[in-house]
Point group: C2
Chain length 249, copies 2
């Protein structure tokens, strides 16, 4: 999160971008006062920047006077190559996997030290998940996160472990040594599991989508109700992830 403090030397551009930074999944609609508070900008400055963004189409004004992100930013955002190429390559495989399993699917990429969900397919019949497209998941507590972490090298693992592994449920792995052992197993088997480590009542299995050079592009995961289901789903998710890996080269 940027924009919580604003120094006098900050450029106009930086201030404009700090207005955009106020909005996230937890705060999709904000009043002028909330934007000023969250960005650290004076209300008069926030008002002027909001109006410029609004004229351009980057923000929309709601009937209650609050503001939301506008379609212009959505359209520009669709051009981001990291999600665009992977998403288009992955979708046919995700649809096949969804037809075969009818479970929730998540396609994620690494962003910073978290997994960013760039696509999902949800079934009304499947276990409810709180993952949104554009939402972030911790690497150490999710199947998709562990699949990315296992194939990303020591530097990322250190960055994840160093601030401490946040306990999401009683089942979350919080000991670095145990996490390292689990990641060894992920590298060996090619699939990563989460047993209620992120959300009680939800388990997941995921497989990495790799680059030819051995680096990781992202991970594809299935979220299900029970551990028993995972044994059946693991070969399917691994097969789909391998298909995506192959089709993106």
């Amino acid at each position: 999160m940027a924009g919580r403090t604003n120094t006098p030397g900050q450029t106009v551009s930086r201030r404009l971008l700090s207005v955009l930074d106020c909005f996230d999944v937890a705060h999709p609609a904000l009043s002028l006062t909330e934007v000023a508070t969250r960005s650290g900008l004076p209300v008069s400055t926030a008002r002027r920047l909001i109006n410029e963004l609004r004229d351009w189409g980057g923000l929309e004004r709601l009937a209650d006077g609050r503001y939301r992100i506008g379609m212009r930013l959505w359209t520009i955002g669709t051009l981001a190559p990291q999600q665009r190429g992977l998403r288009e390559a992955a979708l046919p495989y995700m649809h096949d996997l969804f037809q075969a399993t009818q479970e929730n699917l998540q396609l994620t990429v690494l962003e910073g030290t978290q997994a960013l969900c760039i696509e999902k397919i949800s079934s009304t019949k499947a276990v409810p998940t709180h993952t949104h497209i554009g939402g972030r998941l911790p690497l150490h507590a999710t199947g998709v996160g562990k699949a990315i972490l296992a194939f990303s090298g020591e530097e990322l693992l250190r960055a994840v472990v160093e601030p401490g592994l946040t306990r999401m449920t009683p089942h979350t792995i919080t000991q670095p040594g145990r996490l390292a052992a689990v990641l060894n197993e992920v590298r060996r088997s090619g699939v990563a599991y989460s047993y209620e480590e992120m959300t009680l009542g939800a388990v997941s299995v995921a497989a990495p989508i790799l680059r030819l050079d051995g680096g990781v592009r992202g991970a594809l995961g299935i979220v299900a109700h029970s551990r028993a289901a995972l044994d059946r789903l693991a070969p399917a998710v691994r097969t789909a992830a391998l298909g995506i890996t192959r089709s993106t080269h």
Copy 2:
């Protein structure tokens, strides 16, 4: 397209946004010189603004020195409510429809005087289409466009007809009187067709997604190979669009 001319009185914010406006589906990667040319900014100004956007995560630098839209803008764009709510409501219906038909599906909303594609499901078996997510389609030449136009009132129709109806293929409707008659039929039947009016070899059928007040939220369309297929697909697309309409209230 904005940003082709830059006046001295233009604000810094407007210049920053004009850098973003340089990028579109046809120009997803641009060099510094291309950004300067397309935005009308001096190279030194373009370089400074590009660097600020890059530090923030809004642009990424490619190995060849060109720039592309970054994941930060994608993440912020996913918050746009117009696509977010409709897309999440529509996806389960789109997956059902895809399972039943295995044809290309498009979910669109009105943006300005065009249909903006906010979601698609493509089959490797279906007719190839050139529609991208974030891409725009003319209202008068496509099934989704006519479905939106038919339920949007006279003002939009005038804005579409006034500059002249562009001929996309020999089958495109270019006479305002004929378009008006076709739109009457769309209002009567609840579905809109395009018979090779946008692309030779591709036909489509679409249905509007309506608001309770009678306005239109968007349209769902199927693109197929032959007119014969459309007769079979029309009830399916209309049923799915009605389901989405109902689930968003």
